[in-house]
């Protein structure tokens, strides 16, 4: 890369600005200039529900801190990416080039994050992902300017794989999941841990993301297995579980986090009761600080927090910690990025959380079960795996030498058994 690239320039400009600030401006004055925080959410189109939850998590975090992060007031600049990669790129340019933000929190979907991945590298703006879970963002395509406030796609599913084999003593499982990267990666993580603990995945179905009707897939799902593993995102979990129960639900369902996330659970009916899943966040989990958080969200917005609410909140809390660590000098982007990578929270939705050297959270993963409680559906914790990293029990180097989880990896050797 030539030396005159925008990266070089903006970094130097940032360092100069920081140096100037620290030299010439009294500290008290610097504290008054607001941090410009760019927030990429979705307000239009199919992903708007997640976007709304993200906005509420962010809103709650800022309100809780009196509109200040690390002692400095915050100017929040919110943009709507519409769930479209090209629009996301333009919105990122708007934030960086027009609004000149110091930090970005967002975007929502993995393909949106991938669409701006190169741009973030070029311009060098610290970015915290409140939701995008694509494995490679903190693995094989690590970005120096990017950290994540949620687990990777597979992070919680490794744990479910082990739990299903060891604790639930399941032998044979059929999987069904959205046919896109998130579905492939979640299912891949589950399959690997499940089969390494003695289980067998005997069938894998991949309905297209926008399939009109799950009927033909449900009729194909084998009934001679111990459980169905379902990995759906957005509204698809709702549709699948409802239709599966209409077809008599012959086999019990275990699921990936977003299939029965609190954000969608509120729309579900009795068909969701009994579904066992794993998640890096559960509204009822007994982590230090979560009780207050979950109760606060419930009081303010009227529902239990889930994936997106917690993700945006923690992204904001990470930033708060990092701004404190650099004494409010967010203009020094490299120092801020260093502080973000070293961030550690003792309390909050996740309880204790740190980042690994790849910028991905190491946190507690819970196994939970949907139950009807206090007049609503809730995920009730069955077991907690503390300090789970994105690499599960594997050595990071060996893990990264494998290809990313996909339809074909890990290889399915037990199909049809």
């Amino acid at each position: 890369m030539p030396r005159s690239t925008p990266l070089g320039r903006s970094v130097r400009a940032g360092i100069c600005a920081a140096a100037l600030l620290s030299l010439s401006v009294p500290a008290a004055f610097a504290q008054q200039v607001p941090i410009k925080l760019g927030f990429m959410t979705v307000r239009s189109g199919a992903l708007a529900a997640g976007g709304k939850q993200m906005e509420e998590g962010m809103d709650y975090c800022l309100a809780e801190r009196g509109g200040k992060l690390g002692g400095r007031p915050v100017e929040l600049i919110t943009v709507d990416t519409a769930g479209q990669p090209a629009t996301t790129k333009t919105r990122a340019q708007e934030l960086v080039e027009r609004a000149k933000v110091d930090v970005i929190i967002g975007p929502l979907a993995a393909f949106e994050a991938l669409a701006i991945d190169d741009y973030i590298r070029q311009v060098g703006v610290p970015t915290i992902s409140p939701s995008a879970a694509a494995e490679d963002l903190t693995q094989r395509k690590q970005n120096p300017w990017f950290i994540r406030a949620v687990g990777t796609s597979a992070q919680a599913n490794h744990a479910l794989g082990e739990y299903a084999a060891k604790d639930m003593k399941l032998k044979r499982v059929a999987t069904i999941g959205d046919d896109f990267a998130f579905g492939h990666e979640t299912t891949g993580g589950f399959q690997r841990a499940f089969e390494e603990n003695g289980g067998k995945v005997v069938q894998k179905l991949w309905p297209p993301l926008n399939v009109a009707d799950y009927g033909s897939y449900i009729s194909q799902l084998r009934t001679d297995v111990d459980a169905i593993y379902a990995s759906f995102a957005g509204g698809n979990g709702l549709r699948f579980l409802q239709q599966y129960s209409e077809y008599g639900a012959p086999v019990k369902v275990i699921a990936q986090m977003t299939t029965v996330d609190e954000g969608i659970l509120k729309s579900m009916g009795k068909e969701a009761v009994g579904v066992i899943s794993s998640g890096f966040y559960t509204a009822t989990q007994d982590a230090p600080g979560n009780k207050e958080f979950a109760a606060g969200i419930r009081a303010k917005f009227g529902y239990d927090p889930g994936y997106y609410t917690a993700g945006a909140y923690v992204a904001c809390a990470f930033l708060d910690e990092a701004v404190k660590a650099v004494n409010g000098k967010v203009e020094d982007k490299q120092a801020l990025m260093k502080a973000l990578r070293a961030v550690k929270l003792d309390r909050g939705p996740y309880g204790e959380v740190t980042l690994d050297e790849y910028g991905n959270p190491v946190l507690a993963v819970t196994i939970r079960k949907v139950e009807q409680k206090d007049g609503r559906l809730q995920n009730v914790v069955l077991k907690t795996y503390p300090k789970v990293s994105q690499f599960w029990v594997y050595d990071p180097k060996a893990f990264l030498a494998n290809p990313v989880y996909s339809r074909d990896f890990p290889a399915s050797k037990n199909i049809g058994n």
């Binding site: 046919d179 991949w206 297209p208 009109a212 009707d213 009729s219």
Partner: protein
């Protein structure tokens, strides 16, 4: 055996659903030569209105009726105030109906939020029936029957009533129909109301299977277009056959050749159109 039975039932249910979706579109296109690209949005609006009516305490059937009436009314207003000016002008019609679709979709998002929602089937139709070894939801049996009933009712309307005769006359030759005293203005509005009301009704009846969510419109519009084009634009029989043909092709295609799941709908259509450019039942137009 069970495989063929259950997947055939799935195909029939999907076909029924597609007919509900496409019949209104086909009716409007047949008479008015208007490709109403707001059809998917009206379908979604119907589903949302039905859900709102159910939440407001109406029963499922009353909700379906209310929703059909409201969407039909909206369709009538659309036709009277806007589409009327654009008779015979395809491109402005495309711009208008897509513009309206944008407005409806965004309004639904504003009014009801982005959360996907369940539209519960009426209690008398919940649960499953057993046919041999195959398990099949009762509600889907209803969808199969209901779509056949609607098809029959539409056929009777077209073939056995005076209004139907007028519509058929106008389809064949608008000028001649007007010359013999048929008010095509009223007829057009009536047909547009009926066509959009069918979209609204379809939205409510499809709701318990599809659920109600933003972008339902974008998922449905291409399917409606597919049915209509495969069967032949503007022919009710064509829409019926097209819907069930797609129900079978889609269901069995997805099951037997999963690698082609995304294109299974479009390959047969390309094949049909390159052999019979007017669709299976279409008539050649002027």
């Amino acid at each position: 055996m069970t495989f063929w039975v259950s997947q055939s039932l799935n195909s029939l249910a999907l076909g029924g659903l597609l007919f509900m979706l496409a019949s209104g579109f086909s009716l409007i296109f047949g008479l008015m030569r208007v490709a109403n690209l707001a059809h998917g949005a009206l379908f979604m609006l119907g589903a949302y209105l039905g859900l709102a009516a159910v939440k407001a305490g109406l029963g499922f059937w009353a909700a379906a009726l209310t929703s059909a009436l409201l969407v039909g009314l909206l369709g009538g207003v659309m036709e009277r105030t806007l589409l009327r000016r654009l008779a015979g002008r395809t491109l402005p019609q495309v711009l208008l109906t897509l513009g309206i679709a944008f407005i409806i979709a965004d309004a639904c998002l504003m009014l009801w939020g982005g959360d996907p929602m369940r539209l519960p089937a009426p209690p008398e139709l919940s649960g499953a029936v057993r046919i041999g070894d195959a398990v099949f939801p009762r509600y889907r049996v209803f969808v199969i029957v209901a779509s056949a009933a609607i098809a029959l009712a539409l056929w009777l309307l077209m073939e056995r009533t005076r209004a139907g005769a007028m519509i058929r006359a106008a389809v064949d030759d608008v000028g001649m129909a007007q010359a013999i005293g048929i008010s095509s203005s009223t007829l057009f509005t009536a047909v547009f109301c009926l066509g959009t009301a069918l979209a609204g009704l379809g939205g409510v009846i499809g709701g318990p299977i599809l659920s109600v969510y933003p972008s339902l419109d974008q998922d449905m519009l291409p399917l409606a277009l597919l049915v209509v084009i495969l069967g032949g634009a503007g022919s009710l029989a064509g829409a019926f056959v097209g819907a069930y043909a797609i129900g079978f092709i889609y269901t069995f295609g997805q099951v037997l050749v999963p690698d082609l799941a995304y294109v299974i709908l479009f390959l047969p259509m390309v094949a049909v159109l390159s052999v019979a450019p007017q669709g299976l039942f279409g008539r050649r137009l002027g």
